[in-house]
Symmetry: C2
């Protein structure tokens, strides 16, 4: 059985089925051609890694009219960042540069606290700080990127969240998220907080600004609900673009999404050293190769189920090289060990740079935290 | 049928039944004697207007050990303040002076917005400012009184509220407040915010401080729930003391609690002028008198159902004078018109002073708003 909720993804994911069931639209050739013309095409688009959207045409229309949209994505801190988390952020970074737009990055530090019994708020706050380093390391423009931390920015966010909440009944939340009556009332309320960054910039700047939200498809229930509500508050319905999951090392059939719940051994963290990466990929990456070198040479491997190959579609930017790899593996020219070695090199090259930038990020957090333009001297200044 | 929820009180209130059903304890002679010895007895205690409590003995124990408690009460702004609202606050003011303690006064400006379809957040924020003037006019010590406004202080309060929320299931909230699945998720979450001031001072001062909450009995469901949760967060179970409602002008049988939902004509606001008060009492106060002067002189009136007399038990501080009034009315010496005139004078005398202090309060709000001792320069100062 496949389960996809914002808090749990299990089993093989049939993305065609997801499109129908979630009611998102496929990113088709026509839309790709349009994006290509405006901004070029990131390889995540060329390879169908970002595969679905809602109202993407609307933000492109607005863009062409000179009405800039803003980006909104986020990270609910519950542990260290792994490679799977980076996928939507890498794409968001590209969008920020290609369209030259503002990004609001939410760290809902209460979410996983509310949904996971064992996590304390001190845990999630610690991970917030840690996870920010990974986000900053990706090179977002500090002048155009604003971090929002739910508990720290609650004086801005809670006031907006209750406006959303007033329009969502428990019945609706129950249907969208599969809650029972035994769910806690903080978790039930939480989706209202996740809706806020989709219109907070419009509130703060006192004008209606279009919003585009890139996210992995498991977050969709939140935005299905909030897209109905946000127009009732007088703002544009946020547009969105959804990506597939980086599969777990154990293979797409069992681990449709890499998750640290599979255990540290089967998860590659951004802080893993080269030796650890080599060990984890060598040992755990599900192989599409044959049992013996002889058979492999004769019959070839199956790149479509091989995790190393699948991962290269996420991390190898060069289309030609990827195509060649596919061909070589399928024909048996490339052995499983050699394919794994290619992936290991690719990941370690990336992580070497990432870890350096991550280290430098420690002094940069302040630049990214959203601060109000000027502090009111009185909470009631306007009224008095 | 009698209904008592934090959002609606309807019908005659049987306070004996309330004690049993809500599980509060009666304030008995022994407890009164103990309070008398420490602080004297406010006439609201002598007259059983504050009639019930939970763990009051505990805070008195703590007080006697030299471990000061703090007071917490509040006002959910949804309209102008009427005389009924003042009852718990007048008593709270006495408690503050008699025990020389801090008071945390909550203005949950989101509550009525979430529970009343027609109210906007702009409405409740406007009423917050307006209602503060009434609270300040009662003379709370500005050095020891701290106003908390839910949306404005959310950066302090939301973080604590989610800790409460994690311990409350929808089932529990449903049972306590009578919610259906069609209730909005903000209203469902709200009780977590109302719990916060009962332990926020302990969080801010990093020590466990006992809390005493004076309130009208309709707020009890909130504290029934939060008393179970707060000890799980490591704080004392808050103690509480409950008062009866000032009955509506229409009489206790129909209007157990004065409410502006009975219409402006039947509600006395703190800003009503002397003529308006005279008109409202004369026209709307339910009388326990007889139909003719002759009958009244012969058989006497019934002070136990007469609203003017009942109101004097709330506003006439002099026990002897009140006793005399009861006797004179019951024996027919005092006519209904004369009794109403006494009440009108009493209210207008009070309101004259109140309105002057209310006017002066406009420049004093800043003194009462809670401000953090020092602003952290970084949201992550501790971590960095």
């Amino acid at each position: 059985m496949t389960i996809i909720t914002p808090w749990e993804v299990k089993g093989n994911v049939d993305y065609d089925k997801v499109i129908t069931e979630f009611g998102v639209s496929r990113i088709d050739e026509k839309l790709l051609a349009r994006i290509q013309k405006i901004a070029g095409l990131h390889y995540f688009l060329r390879r169908n890694i970002f595969f679905a959207h809602r109202d993407l045409g609307f933000v492109l229309d607005q863009h062409e009219k000179g009405n800039k949209f803003f980006l909104y994505t986020g990270r609910a801190p519950s542990g260290p960042v792994h490679l799977g988390h980076l996928i939507p952020w890498l794409f968001t970074k590209w969008l920020q540069d290609a369209f030259d737009v503002e990004l609001w990055f939410q760290f809902p530090d209460e979410e996983k606290f509310l949904f996971k019994k064992e996590l304390t708020l001190e845990d999630t706050e610690r991970f917030t700080f840690d996870n920010m380093l990974d986000v900053i390391a990706l090179g977002f423009n500090p002048k155009k990127t604003h971090f929002l931390i739910d508990t720290k920015h609650a004086h801005l966010m809670y006031r907006e969240a209750i406006k959303v909440a007033k329009h969502i009944t428990f019945s609706t939340a129950k249907a969208a998220f599969g809650f029972t009556n035994e769910q806690n009332i903080g978790a039930i309320f939480y989706t209202s907080m996740q809706a806020v960054p989709a219109f907070l910039p419009s509130v703060l700047q006192k004008k209606n600004i279009p919003c585009l939200i890139p996210y992995a498809i498991d977050q969709d229930p939140h935005f299905r609900v909030s897209r109905d509500v946000i127009p009732k508050l007088g703002f544009y319905k946020p547009a969105s673009i959804q990506c597939r999951f980086l599969p777990g090392l154990g293979g797409m059939q069992s681990d449709g999404k890499m998750s640290s719940s599979a255990g540290d051994e089967a998860t590659i963290y951004t802080t893993d050293d080269a030796k650890t990466v080599k060990h984890k990929v060598s040992k755990h990456a599900f192989s599409g190769g044959k049992d013996t070198v002889e058979e492999h040479r004769k019959y070839g491997g199956n790149p479509d189920i091989d995790v190393s190959y699948q991962w290269l579609t996420f991390f190898e930017e060069d289309d030609e090289k990827l195509k060649q790899t596919y061909h070589d593996y399928k024909t048996g020219k490339l052995l499983s060990g050699e394919l794994k070695a290619m992936l290991i090199t690719k990941i370690n090259d990336f992580l070497k740079g990432h870890q350096k930038r991550r280290d430098e990020a420690k002094g940069k957090i302040e630049q990214y935290l959203y601060k109000e333009p000027k502090k009111a001297t009185s909470l009631f200044m306007e009224e008095q």
